[in-house]
C-alpha cells in the first residue's frame, strides 16, 4: 500500500495555501492532518480532499518560555475546523494585545515556514490561524 497523504505532501499543500485532508468513504469523516487510516473509524478507503480552512479556536496559550530555536512570546492554539478536524498552530496576533479571550474566535488557516534545525528532519511548516472576526 502507499501512504495516503504524507506530512511532506500536507506541508507542500499548506505552502500553496491549501489545507488538505482525507475523507473517509466508510463514515464520511474528515481526517487532518493526515493519517494512514480514518481518525474516526479506522476506515482505509480515503480520498485526498481540500478543506475550507475555516475554523474556531477552542483553547490557546501564550508561550513565554520558549524551546531552543523559538523566540517568545507567541500564541499557540488548537482550532476546530468546519469539517471537524482540530489543528494546532500559531495565532497571528500580538501576544499582549488587549484582544481578550481567543476561545470561540473564528480563524482561517495559513502557514509559516520553519527553517531546518537540530532534530527537525528538514524544513517544517507550522499551521497559522488568522483571526477573521
Amino acid at each position: 500500500m502507499s501512504y495516503p497523504l504524507t506530512h511532506r505532501q500536507f506541508f507542500n499543500g499548506l505552502k500553496e495555501g491549501r489545507l488538505q485532508g482525507l475523507k473517509c468513504a466508510d463514515c464520511g469523516a474528515y481526517t487532518a492532518p493526515p493519517k494512514v487510516a480514518c481518525a474516526e473509524c479506522g476506515g482505509r478507503e480515503l480520498t485526498v480532499v481540500e478543506l475550507s480552512g475555516r475554523g474556531t479556536i477552542r483553547t490557546y496559550t501564550v508561550i513565554r518560555v520558549a524551546p531552543e530555536g523559538f523566540t517568545a512570546p507567541y500564541v499557540v492554539a488548537m482550532a476546530e475546523m468546519e469539517e471537524g478536524p482540530w489543528l494546532m498552530g500559531n495565532v497571528a496576533v500580538e501576544p499582549d494585545s488587549s484582544e481578550g479571550s481567543l476561545i470561540g474566535r473564528k480563524v482561517t488557516v495559513g502557514h509559516r515556514l520553519v527553517e531546518a534545525g537540530n532534530y527537525t528532519a528538514g524544513e517544517g511548516v507550522a499551521v497559522t490561524f488568522d483571526l477573521v472576526d
Binding site: H7, P33, A39, R58, T59, Y60, T61, V62, I63, R64, V65, A66, P67, E68, G69, F70, Y74, V76, A77, M78, E80, P85, W86, L87, M88, G89, N90, S101, I103, V114, Y119, T120, A121, G124, V125, A126, V127
Partner: protein, 388 residues
C-alpha cells in the same frame, strides 16, 4: 498469573546532582537490592526507565551500563524503557508482567534522569519532543503550553472563572510544597503561599512558574519478586494488585483535553484487576507535572466527578488527613520530576506509605495505594495499585 510483590525499594535525593545517571541509578538500585535481602547476582533482568539520557549526557544504551555497574549477571537482559515522563511506570508494568507470567522470579526495575544537565532552553525543547514533531512541534508548543491549553479549556468547559481556577491550582502547589517539607528526599522543602504562585513568572499563560514542577536529577528503583520468593525475603511484602496502561494520539486528535482518555482506560484496567474502586484507595501519588494536571488526574482516577476536582482542593479533601490524600511525597511539584525516574519514585512513596514508614507525612492506616503517571501528549498513562 502469579502474585507479584515489591521486595525492596530505593531512591536518591531529587534535585540538582553532580552524579552521572549510572551513579544515581546505582545508589537507588543498591538500596532496593539490599532492602530485599538479595545480591545483585540474584537479579534476572533490569527494566530501566529513561527519557532523555542521550541529550543529557550523550549516553545511549544506558541500561546495560547500569546493570554492569551493579554487578548483575551478564545473562540478565537490561532493557531501557521510554514512555516520556511515564517511562519508569511503563517499566514497572513490564517488569510486573514478566514476573507474573512466571518467566522471571526476581527483577530490578526503576528509572533515572539528569535533566538539569541540559539547561532550560534545551530541556524545554527536548521535553516538547513528547508532542507530535510533524504537526505540533513546529508551532513551538511546550509542555507547560499543553497544560495551559488544558487550563483554559477546563475553565471554559465548566464555566469556572479563570481567577477561581487559578486560585485552586495555586492551592495544589501550596499543599504539595507543604508535604514536600516532610520528605527528606524532596527537591524543594519549603512552604509557599497562594501569593507565591500567583506572583511568580508567567511560563505559558495562564501557567506560572510555581504551577510547574522543576527540572530534576534523580533515580528510584524497586525489586519485584514472585510471591513465594518475596515471602522468604521480607516479612511483610507490598503486593502489586492491579496495573493498567493506555495510549493515545496527539493533542489535536484528543480534542477535549480536560478528559484524558488514556488515563480513564488505564485506571479502569487497574481497578478491574485489583477488584477495587476509587473509594478503596487510601493514598495516591499522581502526575502533578503542573497544578492543573493534579486536578484533572484526581477526576480521571474517579476520586471526584469531572469538573469538581478543582473545588475539592480548596475543601482540603486531597491533603494528608483528607478524604483521599494526594501526593504526600510532595508530588512532582515539590519532590521533583526526574522524568525517567518519576514512576518509580511514586512507587517508592506508596510502598513506604503502606509499610507505615513515612514519618510526619504518613497517611494513617494506609493499606491500598495507587500511582498515576503521564507521558508525552497525554499519550501514555500508567496506573498501578499496590496493597498489603
Amino acid at each position: 498469573m502469579r502474585r507479584v510483590a515489591v521486595a525492596g525499594v530505593g531512591m536518591t535525593k531529587f534535585g540538582v546532582s553532580e552524579k552521572s545517571q549510572v551513579e544515581m541509578f546505582a545508589e537507588a538500585a543498591m538500596e532496593a537490592i539490599d532492602g530485599s535481602n538479595l545480591k545483585a547476582r540474584d537479579i534476572q533482568a533490569l527494566y530501566l526507565g529513561n527519557g532523555l539520557g542521550d541529550f543529557e549526557e550523550g549516553q545511549m544504551n544506558l541500561a546495560p551500563l547500569c546493570a554492569f555497574e551493579l554487578g548483575l549477571p551478564v545473562g540478565a537482559p537490561a532493557v531501557r524503557v521510554e514512555g516520556a515522563c511515564a517511562s519508569a511506570s511503563v517499566a514497572i508494568r513490564e517488569a510486573f508482567i514478566w514476573v507474573a507470567s512466571g518467566f522471571y522470579d526476581v527483577v530490578l526495575v526503576g528509572g533515572v534522569e539528569r535533566a538539569t544537565a541540559m539547561g532550560t532552553p534545551l530541556a524545554t525543547r527536548t521535553f516538547a519532543m513528547g508532542a507530535d514533531s510533524r504537526y505540533e512541534g513546529f508551532s513551538g508548543v511546550t509542555f507547560p503550553g499543553a497544560f495551559a491549553m488544558v487550563t483554559r479549556m477546563y475553565a471554559e468547559k465548566y464555566g469556572l472563572p479563570l481567577e477561581v481556577l487559578k486560585r485552586h491550582m495555586a492551592l495544589v502547589a501550596v499543599k504539595n510544597h507543604k508535604n514536600g517539607v516532610k520528605n527528606p528526599l524532596a527537591q524543594f522543602r519549603k512552604e509557599i503561599s497562594v501569593d507565591t504562585v500567583l506572583n511568580s513568572a508567567m511560563v505559558a499563560d495562564p501557567i506560572q512558574l510555581f504551577d510547574c514542577c522543576p527540572f530534576s536529577d534523580g533515580a528510584a528503583a524497586l525489586v519485584l519478586a514472585a510471591e513465594d520468593v518475596a515471602k522468604k525475603l521480607c516479612p511483610q511484602p507490598v503486593y502489586v494488585r492491579g496495573v493498567g496502561q493506555g495510549s493515545n494520539g496527539p493533542l489535536y486528535r484528543q480534542r477535549d483535553i480536560t478528559r484524558i482518555r488514556a488515563r480513564e482506560e488505564a485506571a479502569a484496567q487497574s481497578y478491574r484487576m485489583a477488584g477495587l474502586t476509587p473509594a478503596d484507595i487510601d493514598v495516591c501519588e499522581l502526575h502533578d507535572c503542573f497544578t492543573i494536571a493534579e486536578i484533572v488526574a484526581s477526576e480521571g482516577l474517579g476520586f471526584f466527578p469531572f469538573g469538581q476536582g478543582s473545588a475539592a482542593v480548596e475543601k482540603g479533601e486531597t491533603a494528608i488527613g483528607g478524604r483521599i490524600p494526594i501526593n504526600p511525597s510532595g508530588g512532582l511539584k515539590a519532590k521533583g520530576h526526574p522524568i525517567g525516574a518519576t514512576g518509580a519514585a511514586q512507587a517508592y512513596e506508596i510502598v513506604k506509605q503502606l509499610r507505615g514508614e513515612c514519618g510526619d507525612r504518613q497517611v494513617a492506616g494506609a493499606r491500598v495505594g495507587m500511582t498515576d503517571t503521564l507521558g508525552g501528549d497525554l499519550a501514555t498513562l500508567v496506573n498501578i495499585i499496590y496493597g498489603v
